[in-house]
Symmetry: C2
Subunit: 261 residues, 2 copies
């Protein structure tokens, strides 16, 4: 039988090998379940704030904690397809541009889910347009939280009735979110795809406001220098040359920027 294996692996054609392979009764190794988790960002035009979508868990495990949008990957589906599907299910929005969703990485600590071996492929989604999440069942209803930082500079997520700290998150979602924020921060000068939450065109001030959530170097920028330095040098940002009067009321008309396709 060793001869048979060697024959198919080395002498037969690849098609013959594959036909033979699939007939064999291989010892099955333990396998993990594969899930996706999705850090979905949005920009709320009603208060000009960057938001993140979380659900409060009503059941064990991690009852009462907050979690990212997630779900299992189905066979014949890539992780990104699963994340796109879950995003559509939760928000109704179909993500069209490739760079509106990044894969952040695989989170594979064997004990990350207390129930069983489940790995998660984390994604970040820069949602547009901004929509209210679709109503889910009792155990699962998503809400938008404002991205903010406490006095120690730690991330927290605000809601009219309170706030969610990183330690209020289920599973390893603190880890996923921190990794996501670091990844976005580190690529801000190369690919600030987070700005997709603003849509195709947007105001310079809103762009600066979004970026401030990821790197404090933007806190120091005056709006004028922001456009002169960051926008001018950024490979995917563009000044359209157009203006729109401030929809919020007073003020000089704002510059309209866009992302290069």
């Amino acid at each position: 039988m060793e001869n048979e294996k060697e024959y198919y692996e080395t002498k037969a054609s690849e098609d013959e090998y594959l036909a033979w392979y699939k007939k064999q009764d291989w010892k099955t190794y333990d396998k993990p379940a594969m899930a996706v988790d999705n850090v979905i960002f949005g920009f709320d035009p009603s208060d000009n704030q960057l938001k993140i979508l979380l659900i409060e868990r009503k059941t064990h495990p991690f009852k009462g904690k907050f979690a990212l949008i997630g779900g299992f990957v189905e066979p014949n589906e890539s992780a990104k397809e699963a994340a796109l599907r879950e995003t559509k299910e939760e928000t109704g929005v179909e993500i069209v541009e490739d760079n509106q969703m990044w894969q952040i990485g695989a989170f594979t600590q064997p004990d990350r889910d207390p129930r069983q071996w489940i790995i998660s492929i984390a994604h970040a989604t820069f949602l547009y347009p901004f929509v209210l999440p679709l109503a889910g069942d009792d155990a699962r209803s998503a809400r938008w939280f404002t991205v903010a930082r406490n006095s120690n500079g730690e991330l927290e997520f605000l809601h009219p009735e309170g706030y969610v700290a990183l330690d209020d998150l289920a599973f390893d979602h603190k880890d996923i979110i921190l990794t996501t924020f670091k990844r976005i921060k580190d690529s801000l000068d190369v690919t600030p795809d987070i700005l997709h939450v603003l849509g195709d065109t947007f105001f310079s001030t809103d762009a600066l406001g979004v970026l401030k959530n990821f790197d404090k170097k933007f806190v120091n920028y005056s709006t004028g220098n922001f456009v002169k330095t960051y926008v001018k040098n950024n490979p995917i940002l563009m000044d359209t040359g157009k203006f729109e009067k401030n929809p919020k009321g007073a003020g000089r008309p704002k510059k309209i920027l866009s992302l290069r396709k």
Copy 2:
């Protein structure tokens, strides 16, 4: 029975819930096998060239093609632990510093392996010290290839007897390698961990030589300006202030740099 589920999910303690969960006979979904693939970089002091470790496949599938170092993730093991284990098996080197190995991401196209559903968590390893790969079996013997680019700027991997092009790679390893190079390139100004292939301390000229493989902006640097601009601004690079005479023979002594811990 629905009442029982609801009871344990919402009213029982988390420990009670988990004990109950593990007794249940859940419908088992299809699960993928989880593998790791590892883009292992090294720096050969005998020719001062950046190298990558590849194996030539002697069996189907992808017989005759070249592949990355890979293997399956075992239960109770994270993907990174599996990648560290495979690296040790293949080279004998135990990677000690956390940032000498990056996770690049999960490659999850369902048909990426023609045999069965196997996802791969790709890693990049910046190996040091440089060692010859350990002898494997017939089907698996790894060799170092010099990282180079052809006249079109496309990556290729050289060996005294020939070269390997990206299209000579098995599975989706072309994809993995391209993603790895892009990731290294994009983070060169923030975390040039690729320089770990040079060890704890190294010459400025070797650093520049390694970086040239990832971004052509380094081709234009004179060695003088390289230290004055790149090294000075880089958050993890340091000028030790020491010098060593050129071990290759002629020339003014070289500056010794190091990576900040």
